[in-house]
Amino acid sequence: MRSIWRTLDKGTAAAVAAACCAVGLFGVSYGASTIAAGFPVWMPIVMAVTVLAGGSELLFFGIVAAGGSPLAAVVAGLLLNARHLPYGLSAPEVFGSGWRRALGIHVLNDESVAFATAPGDQDRKRAAYWACGIGVALCWPLGAALGAGLGSLVPDTSALGLDAVFPVILLALILPALRDRATLRPVLVGAALAVVVAPFVPAGLPVLIALGGLVFALRPPQPTRTEPVAA
């Protein structure tokens, strides 16, 4: 474990800390809103530890609170989490082996994968993945517990602009890889696809449909063409 901290450079460590702080703040908001919907204090905390995928937990409690069946809530949550399968398929070998692997798989999430996509050698990727994964696995439940304890004292997070934080973290982490034009094209097509289909399909599907952008990555890039990429 200690080698993780030794391998991390200062910039990555600061970025991991920033991402974990943001996740903790979301956790506070999640805990508070779940309690406000009438669930017992332990529920969001147990879910934060065992599911460790914020969006699906919010969706789960949201559906049940709105009177939906728990089965529908599970299906919706799993659909939202389906992206973790291709994440795991894409991630380089960062999970370790033995008992560590069980934990390494559990801490697979949007942020930790984004850290693993940043250019660099295998040791650096693994260190960034684990640092972010463990950090989120601690900050998310701790934030949820704090929010559940504070309840209605927690201010409205959208007034604080906190909803802009999650996309900016992911965007900042994938930008280095997007400086490559051949990669940028399928990524832009995929993102556009997701936005277009989002109003018509259940949550979770748009990002999977975005994978259709991969057809633009099938052909090797042609080095002779120099026309600018359409925005």
Binding site: G88, G161, L193
Partner: protein
């Protein structure tokens, strides 16, 4: 809130999510992948993350699309593109969104 079957449902979400996380690395461990396939998988992860960014920034599904959130994300994105530290980009994004909402531009 005490819906029936709430506990089994929570357990199912936890177990199902772990299974989704476990499947990818398990498959990758067993398959012998060419460099080209690995490149495609790398691109796939970037597409998923970018699509998540796009749908979180332009929540077209929710029906309330304002300028404050996309503007905040754009400010953060530009700062990140110019290699500002993540904390700076994040704070600038949140501040931009919060200020735009404060002055009533939702």
């Amino acid at each position: 809130m005490n819906a029936p079957y709430l506990l089994p449902a929570m357990l199912a979400l936890a177990v199902g999510t772990y299974a989704l996380r476990w499947t990818g690395p398990a498959l990758r461990h067993r398959l012998r992948l060419s460099a080209r396939t690995i490149h495609l998988l790398d691109t796939g992860a970037l597409i998923l993350l970018a699509a998540l960014v796009a749908t979180a920034t332009l929540p077209t599904g929710s029906g309330e699309l304002g300028i404050a959130l996309p503007a905040g994300v754009a400010v953060g994105g530009i700062l990140a593109w110019r290699r500002a530290p993540l904390l700076v980009a994040v704070l600038a994004a949140a501040t931009t969104t919060a200020v735009l909402r404060l002055i009533g531009m939702h």
